[in-house]
């Protein structure tokens, strides 16, 4: 029986090759996009699932009203472990995350991400597998170090790393006491080197809020109960005793602890940003694409049903029941969908490397959870088969054999309503993508061409140690300026274009009020280096007051915030500081430091830390002369060897850094363009095939009309009219939806492009034109053919 169905399915596929190809390819394109997003989603959801025990490992963070503090006091971990009976172990650790730390062993020096220092209990909490070393004792010795398999390979090749000495940051030495296996899934905290914290003792006090606290439970419990228990302990042990000492502010408002189970941190953390939102949206879009592919299927099958109707009639008189027929048509659909899936998989496997490089992803089809993936694909295939096959099957199997065999089949009129709805839905999706692509492009264009307020070209950002930046700065500057290609040298604590640039604000006193503004420490030539225009007053000079935090320059936003007509000469002071006032000597133009998602913050620029606040960090900026950039960089590299002999130079260009800041949006742009093209392709192909069918069906009518004197134009209008009405309706429905979505997306930006009504009108026209051209190609052909031909076939 199956063999018979299979045969007839293959033969009827072979019969309408064009339609079959359109059906299968359209669906394959939709499926391929869906699979890629599915891979991305799986990747995201696989975060920190490398060991089932992680389900019982929690990160403990603090919250004070709306302020989230992931860094917790050093003794918190040991307090909780001591007081809570269900905690097996707790560790406090510090990590540098994506910051690259200099690690050396013998002659070899590399910059490595994933550095962490911790107490001895790190391995008790995190279930890393050890290749070498003993879990219980590995971190017991002071200055012991465990490293990842990967790092061991880079540093020591194939030789045994155990007992080798590693130097971190050219300052602290450690001995390798363990090698951990790199987990199979990504982690919110990739660890390549864990060092027993050398300053553990001296840093162990409650006011030291700079540790991450992780706990591991003996028995799983409800998270709410856990949080309540922890808070009880924290309140009893800390808040109450603080109050007795009279240190606590308000009575009911106090800091509370909250937990995130480790597998949730990446995507479902209680108070953090996450990728999952974007990916979920993409997933929904991919499902829409899949549906548009399935719709082609349904539509073409309904259209084709006229030719299958006779078969249904005959089969019924030969003894086929309805169920047999439904099964037959469903298995036919399943066959086509499976072919689509296979093509989609081939597309995915071939294109994945390109997608990974162009989108900067790390997706892998043959990953470890391929069984799960196969299951997902199986479900996807089943759902799509069901969706694309169920209506045609029900419709066809219901046909009355007597009527059908008499030739009385009302041209698929019954399927017309549904077909129109499906076609409209397809074009709603298409129009949505076109609007989205247009809007995202416009916003990115706007970002590209917006004035950052300074010149970011040929500005080198050099990473430097604190010593070089602070005490050694004058010397470093002189030494760099001696290179002919260097125009100026400056430093700043808030480097424009940095991924993690200081965006905090502090209180300033001004005329008895407290005003929150950002404080930026710079050097004299900062504004010159970035070519920031002066609005009022003057730039910094070498005067004593300028060089010792007595004078400040503010930006325009700060000037507005101070709300004074002429800010020059006004005095402000750092909040809670009695070391003296700061006088405003200049106002500079606003410069965009954090990218365009955020509004420019009011900024107070000062030199040196001579008024209470101590700020360090950031980097050295070097403005190059425009000729011989490469030679100059080489010269700076040479010079750097004498400035920081132990640290190889690390530099980047500020304009490139800004591009990096936008990279997520470029990625979105690429994905949208890709999805949009596929959506357009699928719907156009569907419309094309559908028109072909209609023309075939109405061939005789067209012939008769031509004999009666109709011309090409009226016939094109006759066929195209119905479709165009649907496409117009689709555009009208789509535009409010896409406008809403676009606005929602734009709201993430402090600086937004405006999208005028004519843009939407333009999109509508584009969609209608697309449809018109698609329909016309065939109608014109049909209308131009000789009527005798079509009439003779009867």
């Amino acid at each position: 029986m199956l063999k018979n169905y299979f045969k007839i399915a293959l033969r009827s596929l072979g019969k309408g090759k064009t339609y079959t190809t359109i059906n299968i390819l359209g669906l394959a394109a939709g499926m391929a996009s869906f699979i890629i997003v599915l891979l991305a989603l799986n990747y995201e959801l696989s975060y920190d699932t490398w060991d089932p025990k992680l389900e019982q490992v929690y990160k403990v963070s603090m919250r004070f009203q709306d302020e989230i503090q992931e860094a917790t006091p050093a003794p918190l971990a040991s307090l909780l472990a001591e007081k809570h009976p269900n905690i097996e172990a707790a560790t406090s650790m510090q990590g540098t995350g994506d910051y690259e730390v200099l690690i050396s062993s013998g002659q070899k020096s590399i910059y490595q991400k994933g550095f962490a220092s911790s107490d001895s209990l790190f391995l008790e909490v995190f279930p890393y597998q050890l290749i070498h070393g003993d879990r219980a004792t590995a971190l017991n010795v002071p200055n012991s170090v465990i490293i990842s398999e990967e790092l061991a390979k880079t540093l020591f090749g194939d030789s045994n790393p155990m007992g080798e000495t590693i130097k971190v940051f050219n300052a602290v030495e450690g001995v390798v006491t363990g090698v951990i296996k790199v987990p199979e899934t990504p982690s919110h905290r990739n660890v390549h080197l864990v060092m027993r914290d050398p300053y553990e003792q001296q840093n162990f006090f409650w006011n030291n809020h700079s540790y991450d606290t992780y706990i591991k439970l003996k028995e799983p419990v409800a998270e709410a109960d856990l949080e309540e228990d922890l808070n009880t302990i924290y309140f009893e042990e800390r808040i109450k005793s603080d109050k007795q000492q009279g240190q606590a502010s308000g009575s009911s408002n106090h800091t509370v602890l909250f937990t995130d189970v480790v597998p949730n941190i990446q995507n479902f953390s209680k108070y953090g940003n996450s990728n999952i939102k974007t990916i979920s949206i993409l997933f929904i879009l991919a499902i829409l694409l899949l549906f548009t592919g399935a719709i082609n299927f349904s539509n073409l099958t309904i259209a084709k049903s006229i030719s299958r109707a006779k078969e249904v009639g005959i089969r019924k008189t030969l003894g086929s029941g309805r169920r047999n027929l439904i099964f037959q048509f469903m298995s036919e659909t399943a066959l086509q969908c499976s072919i689509s899936l296979i093509i989609a998989l081939i597309i995915v496997i071939i294109s994945l490397p390109f997608i990974n490089t162009s989108l900067n992803l790390d997706l892998n089809f043959w990953g470890q959870n391929s069984a799960e993936l196969l299951l997902q694909l199986g479900i996807c295939l089943a759902v799509i088969t069901f969706l694309s096959g169920i209506y045609p099957s029900l419709y066809l199997s219901r046909l009355n054999p007597v009527k059908v065999l008499k030739g009385d089949i009302s041209g698929g009129k019954k399927g017309l309503g549904l077909r129109n709805v499906l076609l409209t839905f397809q074009f709603i999706v298409t129009a949505f993508f076109i609007v989205a692509i247009f809007g995202v492009n416009k916003q990115l264009d706007y970002l590209q061409n917006s004035d950052k307020g300074f010149v970011d070209e040929q500005v080198l950002r050099i990473e430097a140690t604190q010593a070089t930046r602070e005490q050694g700065f004058a010397q470093t500057r002189r030494s760099l300026l001696s290179i002919p290609g260097v125009r100026s040298v400056a430093k700043t604590t808030t480097v424009p274009g940095d991924k993690i640039a200081d965006s905090s604000t502090v209180n300033f006193n001004y005329k008895g009020d407290q005003i929150r503004m950002g404080s930026v420490k710079v050097s004299t030539d900062y504004f010159e280096t970035l070519q920031v225009p002066l609005v009022e007053g003057r730039f910094f000079n070498e005067s004593y007051a300028d060089q010792n935090t007595r004078n400040a320059i503010i930006n325009e936003t700060a000037a507005r915030k101070l709300n004074v007509t002429n800010p020059i000469g006004e005095t402000i002071s750092f909040g809670g500081c009695d070391e003296g006032d700061v006088q405003i000597v200049g106002v500079v133009k606003d410069i965009n430091v954090h990218g365009f998602e955020f509004a420019i913050k009011p900024a107070v620029y000062t030199i040196e830390n001579k008024a209470c606040m101590y700020q360090s960090g950031g980097a050295i900026l070097v403005k190059l002369k425009s000729d011989q950039v490469q030679a100059t960089i080489t010269a700076i590299g040479e010079q750097w060897k004498s400035i920081e002999p132990n640290f190889p130079i690390r530099y980047s260009f500020i304009d490139a850094n800004f591009q990096q800041l936008f990279s997520t949006y470029y990625r979105l742009q690429k994905i949208l363009t890709f999805f949009g093209s596929i959506a357009i392709l699928i719907s156009i192909m569907g419309l094309f095939a559908l028109t072909a069918f209609i023309i075939k069906q109405r061939n005789k009518e067209i012939g008769i009309r031509k004999v009666l004197g109709a011309n090409v134009k009226t016939i094109t209008a006759l066929i195209g009219k119905d479709f165009l009405v649907l496409v117009c309706i689709a555009s009208l429905i789509s535009i409010p939806i896409s406008a809403w979505a676009l606005n929602k997306w734009l709201n993430d930006f402090a600086y937004q492009t405006s999208i005028e009504w004519w843009a939407y009108a333009g999109v509508t026209i584009v969609v209608i034109l697309l449809a018109l051209i698609t329909v016309s190609i065939q109608t014109v052909h049909a209308a131009a053919s000789k009527p005798v031909k079509s009439l003779r076939t009867e």
């Binding site: 018979n4 007839i8 078969e311 089969r315 008189t317 003894g319 007597v402 065999l405």
Partner: protein
């Protein structure tokens, strides 16, 4: 074998009933070869469809081998049809995508006959109808007479007790037509009950009994 009592079937047209079958009563014995004659629109095909249970009727009673068809559910009716009746069409109605062999095999598939048995049955009938050499051809590669032979072979493959033929030779020339009729005669002599609808007196003469229909009623028995 078949007992029709006061069958009425109508369609509504402009609020009025147009009768397709009008108070039609008919008794058919096992082993009969009945020819139904009448002009176009006299109700021949409708009658055959009703007998075949492919179409319903609005009033009256229909007994097939004592079973009250008018009281049965659609599913049960289908199964009685599948077990007992072979249907032959004027326009042959072969499945275009299947070969001669596969066309003949299809009813067996619906009856869930085993593969080996299927092969034997189909080979038998191909042999009997002398179309072994054509078994791998598709319908459009055959002449009309050959197509109708395949149609008949397909109807006979389930060994029906009753064959219903709706103008089986309507699309054939007289030589082909006579061959088909002779075949019917042979089948009838082997014990199969046959009801055919036909325009041709000549064909009707092959039958053991002839009735004439006019406006949905029997005018001559």
């Amino acid at each position: 074998m078949i007992q029709l009592d006061h069958i009425y079937k109508w369609v509504k047209s402009g609020g009025r009933r147009v009768f397709l079958l009008n108070d039609l009563s008919l008794h058919i014995e096992k082993g009969e070869f009945l020819s139904i004659m009448g002009t176009s629109g006299s109700g021949k095909s409708t009658l055959l469809n009703v007998v075949a249970m492919l179409d319903g009727f609005d009033e009256g009673e229909y007994y097939f081998e004592g079973e009250a068809i008018h009281d049965l559910k659609a599913k049960k009716r289908t199964s009685i049809f599948n077990e007992n009746i072979g249907f032959i069409f004027q326009a042959y109605h072969l499945l275009d995508e299947l070969t001669v062999y596969e066309n003949i095999e299809t009813p067996l598939l619906y009856k869930k006959v085993k593969s080996s048995e299927r092969k034997a049955l189909v080979a038998d009938i191909l042999d009997k109808f002398n179309i072994v050499g054509k078994k791998d051809l598709f319908p459009h590669q055959l002449s009309g007479g050959q197509q109708q032979l395949v149609g008949i072979a397909r109807a006979l493959i389930i060994k029906p007790k009753l064959i219903l033929a709706d103008e089986p030779t309507g699309n054939l020339n007289s030589t082909q037509s006579d061959e088909i009729m002779k075949l019917f005669k042979e089948l009838n002599e082997e014990g199969v009950t046959i009801i055919q609808a036909t325009h041709s007196e000549n064909n009707a003469a092959y039958g053991s009994r002839t009735i004439k229909l006019l406006d949905g009623s029997i005018s001559k028995n």
